[in-house]
């Protein structure tokens, strides 16, 4: 009903309606209480205006019943807002299984995106309508924030770790992408467009793109180039954990404890390998901080993931290098 009114932004994702639901509730509460207070102040100010110079007000010291009333009622209303807001936040925060994944790297002052099948984009992101899309985001330099107003989603992009964000576009179209966290001179130029496309069009677009290597393939190449493969190998000479089927599983750490092998763990193991050593292996891996870019890190992660996703170990086609 309200969505055609120009004072409201377009609703183009499954989340947008949820967020706007809270908005309209809050707007109603705000309007009610603002008008109530303003109305009372105006009415009292006129009704009890000073009529002669020596007039004084009536001495009223308070009323416990009223105080309790206007403590408890606002509290209950805010608790509705709290629960509602938290529920929507959880829905927006938790990506569904099977979402289409895209890697995003923010740097001063552009957005780089790479699709799983290798298509790269700058300051643009094409996504299909009706399918959950999960963005895995890192930053090369300072803080950024990935914001699509029409989808009502936003997440800070933080150097040194991964943050994620997901959405399901519902309406084909072209939507603003903004950087919402101040990042320097051209902060306001770090903008772009999100293209939501019908699934068939999206398939056509992605098929016709300038295809470079998929992130996993690029990662595999890096894996060889950086000589990771010297230690992370399949045979008995392996000095480091075997990576096949590792992703998403727990590993035992030296000194007790376990860690789940996810994007952040792999990233940490590449840039700060000594932080969490897998039990039974010598702490010999050098750091690759500064040697690999954020994009390359994401490619390496994609490669490790692809090893994990290739189900039983026998089916893995990757050859163990020839050093």
């Amino acid at each position: 009903m309200f969505t055609n009114f120009p004072l409201f932004p377009e609703q183009a994702s499954a989340q947008a309606a949820q967020v706007d639901g809270i908005y309209f509730f809050l707007l109603a509460v705000t309007a009610f209480f603002s008008l109530l207070i303003a109305g009372l102040v105006v009415v009292f100010a006129i009704k009890y205006r000073r009529r002669h110079e020596d007039e004084v007000g009536v001495a009223i010291h308070g009323s416990l019943a009223l105080e309790l009333l206007w403590t408890v009622i606002p509290f209950l209303i805010t608790m509705v807002m709290f629960v509602w807001g938290a529920k929507v936040f959880f829905d927006i925060y938790r990506p569904p299984a099977g979402a289409m994944e895209v890697y995003i790297v923010g740097k001063q002052w552009m957005w780089k995106a790479q699709h799983m099948d290798g298509i790269r984009e700058i300051n643009e992101l094409h996504v299909p309508v009706g399918r959950p899309v999960k963005l895995i985001m890192g930053s090369e330099d300072v803080l950024h924030s990935f914001y699509i107003p029409s989808f009502r989603v936003k997440a800070d992009v933080i150097p040194g770790r991964y943050n994620h964000l997901w959405f399901t576009a519902t309406k084909p179209g072209k939507y603003h992408l903004f950087c919402a966290e101040y990042c320097g001179t051209k902060h306001s130029g770090m903008i772009g467009w999100i293209y939501a496309m019908e699934p068939t069009e999206f398939q056509a677009w992605i098929g016709g793109g300038r295809s470079s290597d998929t992130p996993a393939a690029a990662g595999e190449k890096l894996f060889t180039d950086l000589a990771c493969i010297t230690c992370h190998r399949d045979d008995a000479k392996a000095l480091a954990p075997q990576l096949k089927g590792l992703f998403g599983h727990a590993v035992q750490l030296q000194g007790g404890g376990t860690a789940i092998v996810d994007e952040s763990y792999i990233r940490e193991s590449i840039v700060n390998p000594q932080a969490k050593i897998v039990n039974g292996f010598p702490p010999i891996m050098p750091t690759f901080q500064g040697l690999v870019t954020e994009e390359q890190l994401l490619q390496l992660i994609a490669y490790v993931r692809s090893l994990g996703e290739a189900a039983p170990p026998t089916a893995a086609p990757q050859a163990p290098g020839k050093d």
Binding site: F44, R49, V56, F89, S145, Y147, S150, A180
Partner: protein, 533 residues
């Protein structure tokens, strides 16, 4: 003939620059924060002019970034935080509690010098090229990427912090130890309660921002890794430490204004406050709970969702004491004898604008909605409704209420009413459109923006111009009144409070005889029983 008072008791520059009289120190602060207010206002006007058109055509992106940074730094640290406490608090607390001065007069003067020193650092940073980090100094931009004068500005903030700390310390000790005989805690004027709560935030919060900006400077100069991820640090830790102070700092700005409004509403309704103890304790509740809500600034920075939930819950809780105050003010007007003098007009404006500002805070506390409007103009509009619509309305209301006491002169009431109207209209025209443009998705700190947002920005700039006139007017007629204003009687408003029982302007040591207090302030009508609700 003119009576001897604090203004004519000693002449010459030295008698002002070396004074230990809390009233003269208040005037030193008044002069310096007014200068900073207009400096910050100039930066604001530059921002608004740039945003008149979607293209960045007035100044370069770097200049624009420096403008909003300097606007934030100057307004927050050098105007809003010291405004009511250092001017009205300094002037009124000793008088309201029946003391001759604050507990530590020399420390009070030192606080002002520290403030000026910090201000000089900031001015140096501004004049030598500016800072472009945003007033939030977020790392790693501030420590690794920005190539502007971050260190000087950070030191300015660090130094000025000690002025706040020492002022808060002075107020706390004064309220504890200097009250006149018979002045029990529940007879204290509500302004003193609010200043006490503010002082608690000063002493507990300010040291944390001091150490945080110091660490930023250390990281920048010595390349120690504390917050920069490239050096092994955690940039989100900086945000936690920063907001641990900077969220309570919002209450440093609004609590004193609430205290002022409590006084004005009573004086101009000729009626004691409705629910004294609820209003008094809500100040303390705001000060204490206000320390536990900082995480709502980082809902989308990848903080744990469970931590986010706790912060969200507490952010809703902290709204309740504010709501209690608003309801009690409204109830105070009921069956009062309401006059429309200019201080009361500011109080009306405050109640309306603060209600909107507070309620829109609930939008941001609701996590699901905050995702959308975080770091947009919605946030900008919200905190300006609190800081400008709330704190500055309260400050101006207080200045109009106590100006006859401070200066011993009356200002032209007609002009004052006109200025109050200009401020109210200009303010709403400036900031209401920003709620809408923020909800539409315009991010803050944008030098250029998509053209569909222009209409709201034009309205905003127009409003800012009106607002500027509203702010210049009081400065003009206050100055005029010093030379040509009618002499003020001891109690021009028919108010009841200790400050209205001594001459205007007050004598140097306020009271010739330590007063003995038998009941609370603002008792107008004969009452069966004096006490609290």
């Amino acid at each position: 003939m003119e009576t001897l008072n604090y203004l004519n008791d000693g002449h010459g520059l030295a008698s002002w620059l070396l004074t230990k009289d809390h009233k003269r120190i208040a005037l030193l602060y008044l002069a310096s924060i007014t200068a900073f207010f207009f400096l910050g206002g100039f930066f604001a006007l530059m921002i608004r002019l740039e945003l008149l058109t979607p293209a960045g055509d007035l100044m370069t992106a770097d200049t624009y970034n420096k403008m909003f940074t300097m606007h934030g730094v100057v307004m927050v640290f050098f105007f809003l935080i010291p405004s009511i406490p250092a001017v009205l608090g300094n002037f009124l607390i000793p008088i309201m509690i029946g003391a001759k001065d604050l507990a530590f007069p020399r420390l009070n003067l030192l606080s002002w010098y520290i403030y000026v020193l910090g201000g000089l650092f900031t001015l140096t940073a501004a004049l030598s090229g500016g800072v472009d980090t945003g007033w939030t100094f977020y790392t790693p931009y501030s420590t690794a990427a920005a190539n502007s004068h971050v260190i000087i500005a950070a030191l300015g903030v660090f130094i000025t912090g000690f002025s706040s700390i020492l002022t808060g310390l002075n107020f706390i000790v004064t309220v504890h130890r200097m009250r006149a005989p018979g002045l029990t805690w529940f007879r204290l004027p509500l302004f003193v309660w609010s200043m006490y709560a503010t002082s608690l935030i000063f002493i507990l919060g300010t040291p944390v921002i001091a150490i945080t900006v110091l660490l930023v400077a250390v990281e920048r100069v010595l390349h120690f890794g504390i917050f920069d991820p490239a050096l092994g640090g955690d940039p989100v830790l900086f945000q936690h430490l920063f907001w641990f102070y900077s969220h309570p700092a919002v209450y440093i700005m609004i609590l004193p204004a609430m205290g002022v409004i409590s006084e004005i509403v009573q004086a101009f309704s000729r009626k004691n406050i409705f629910g004294y103890s609820f209003v008094a304790f809500s100040s303390l509740a705001i000060a204490i709970i206000g320390f536990l809500v900082w995480g709502h600034h980082i809902f989308v920075a990848g903080q744990s969702v469970y931590a986010g939930m706790i912060f969200s819950f507490l952010s809703f809780v902290v709204a309740i004491p504010s709501a209690i105050k608003v309801f009690n003010w409204t109830a105070t007007i009921y069956k009062g004898s309401v006059s429309y003098d200019s201080p009361m007009l500011y109080a009306f404006g405050f109640i309306g604008l603060f209600t909107i500002g507070g309620l829109t805070g609930l939008f941001l506390a609701a996590m699901g909605f905050d995702i959308h409007v975080h770091d947009t103009y919605f946030v900008v509009a919200h905190f300006h409704y609190i800081m400008v619509g709330g704190a500055i309305m309260g400050y101006l209301g207080g200045m109009h209420y106590w100006w006859p006491k401070i200066s011993g002169r009356m200002y032209p009431e007609g002009w004052a009413k006109f200025a109050a109207l200009m401020v109210f209209v200009g303010f709403n025209l400036t900031f209401f459109p920003q709620f809408i443009v923020g909800y539409l998705g315009m991010p803050r700190r944008y030098h250029e923006y998509p053209p569909e947002f222009q209409v709201f920005n034009v309205a905003s700039t127009l409003g800012a111009t009106v607002l500027a006139v509203g702010y210049v007017l009081p400065m003009v007629y206050f100055t005029w009144s010093i030379f040509a204003g009618e002499r003020a009687p001891a109690d021009p408003w028919g108010s009841k409070g200790l400050e209205w029982e001594i001459p205007s302007p007050p004598p140097t040591e306020n009271f010739f005889v330590t007063p003995i207090i038998t009941h609370g302030t603002h008792q107008y009508a004969p009452s069966k029983e004096v006490g609290v609700a």
